[in-house]
Symmetry: C3
Subunit: 272 residues, 3 copies
Amino acid sequence: MNILPFAQLLNRVREMRPLVHHITNTVTINDCANITLHTGGAPVMAHAPEEVEDMVGLASSLVLNIGTLTTLQVEAMLLAGKQANRRGIPVVLDPVGAGATRFRTESVHRILEEVQVTIVKGNAAEIATLAGEQAEVRGVDAGEVAADPIQAAQSLARQLNSVVVVTGKTDIITDGTRTACVDNGHHMMGCITGTGCMGASVLGCFAPVVDDPWIAAVAGVTAYTIAGEIGGEQADGPGSFKWRFFNAMAGLNAEKIAEKAKIRKISPSPKP
Amino acid sequence: MNILPFAQLLNRVREMRPLVHHITNTVTINDCANITLHTGGAPVMAHAPEEVEDMVGLASSLVLNIGTLTTLQVEAMLLAGKQANRRGIPVVLDPVGAGATRFRTESVHRILEEVQVTIVKGNAAEIATLAGEQAEVRGVDAGEVAADPIQAAQSLARQLNSVVVVTGKTDIITDGTRTACVDNGHHMMGCITGTGCMGASVLGCFAPVVDDPWIAAVAGVTAYTIAGEIGGEQADGPGSFKWRFFNAMAGLNAEKIAEKAKIRKISPSPKP
Amino acid sequence: MNILPFAQLLNRVREMRPLVHHITNTVTINDCANITLHTGGAPVMAHAPEEVEDMVGLASSLVLNIGTLTTLQVEAMLLAGKQANRRGIPVVLDPVGAGATRFRTESVHRILEEVQVTIVKGNAAEIATLAGEQAEVRGVDAGEVAADPIQAAQSLARQLNSVVVVTGKTDIITDGTRTACVDNGHHMMGCITGTGCMGASVLGCFAPVVDDPWIAAVAGVTAYTIAGEIGGEQADGPGSFKWRFFNAMAGLNAEKIAEKAKIRKISPSPKP
């Protein structure tokens, strides 16, 4: 598989410096802003219903993350998401903890009904929940997932007409037809909070620089997990991993990505 | 005093991987999530009244921290606390800044009236305030406290039927009858924000793994302050202290705790 | 220009340990608390309308930052600001993203109408917006600013009877009559989120220790940007910059400031 077109998208992010509007949780909001900067974007966080439509009007993409959801935030996400759809800018959704509480599951379904989401990114349990399968969600972590995550992702992608990213040891990126697996990453990424959320921010940086969101998502996941790999190899604990990971993302370039990328395109599954 | 039973509880945290539900402040919420991971627990932060009962239903313990309190958050804390009581899972309360404003003091009293709290952890001024003594609270820092902190803690513990932890150069842990003092720690812990809040998260990790909350609290305080000691000895400033402290907590094990622990059990005070 | 009186103010911050009450955004609130500690102040974050007046009653200064503004937060800011005015303690305003959305611009104008602000600190676009000029604000970053930032700052300072600080490669500090330019700093400061917000926290530490807010602002900006310089020279990426910057701020002293300060006082502009 030719890696170079994916690797070179990072250069385009840095040329364009997309403004990535986040409506996100209070746990990892600082990390999301920083990783956006280190990837090459410009983060802006705004969640008041009074201003989200104006802010989307300036943005290159919108990232919605339900990690610490409130009723007011759902309202803001719907306003922002619809405005993003009107403007035609990409929307990335991170359904953190979908399946853990009824409030989360219902809010995500409402967002998906009212907003055309470009990329949905979650762990296996969250994606299985959205795909309508039974999944054990333990807080915001993936529990045991019975079904095949690739099939769940493909099914959800077709259902939503979105690109679906399933994170894990191997990351899966599918638009329902094309499916790639990325084997990059490092176990340290699971030892700090925020690596999931930050992944969505990186997708928010890549989505505006290319018309095909599946390519954007494969490129974003690959860049991000390679930065995790470099940071993890240098770290002697999760505390030092975090800042080394940030350094690695900021210091990443197309050459390093092309050298380290482990992307496998898997044969299309038959439509059901 | 036999340290080993306390030291070995850390292994049990790591085997159980308790889900620690936090309703906490926006200042240190990221730090609390990370220290929970590094201790061996799984953090989940959820504060919408619509979902806290569902989330408590999945959790092993509940941590309530009033650092950036709102009316809505008090409501969520009461719902979550009562649900935790119904389920019989431990509740840790960090009354940040109790005594500084009437809103904080009244909210803490309301929580303590409606929820049976397992462990209350505060600095000397906060605990003195809750024990009904005059104390100078300066923002969220302990000011001058007139009374004997051990007596105040013992009195509060008996009054609430809770374990009370008073943090400071020496940490005090009492259930009103048994009282231990822990002399571990490092002055650097006072040079960053969040060490108080993170201490409560660690207690939230230890509380579910043993039936006796006093033992859990002694073990948790000891592990945490030893990690602070190790981090502090390696750091050349508060910026590097923070990540070294995280590394130290993640790298801690029962042997290091047994080697470094400075726990003194003090003779029981006469009941008043 | 005699640097020493500015440099020595840091000692006074550390003697006084001012309690700096913040009502601020959720993105950088942790960073603001930490930089306040490292500068020598004591941070307290409280934003519930029910308690902000009480908390201002204990504080040495108040920092208002609209980075993730909500309607409720504006209400809290007005209550806190008026109370600060009644008590005669300094108020620092960081109009993050003013000009980007109508909600931000209108909220800032409302705060400035109802509260006498001691120091307003923003980037060139934010200050131009407040000064009534056309400016391109891109999210929360400064875009292209047509007008002369020094003139805009002087004009705004006279209009508000405040000290105005314009941050950038060169920082401008003016009370409308006296104007200083500070050429310290490091490009790494723009590679992480929060350096703007943290600058306001540092001003909140310096403002209470001297009667003349222009002197406080010059001293605060100089100390802060020198810490950025030291941190930046030692860092090999934005991840390591952040903790080295914190270390540098905590390790800063009057001698280092006097040695490195690049303050230029520029000739007073004629009053219009």
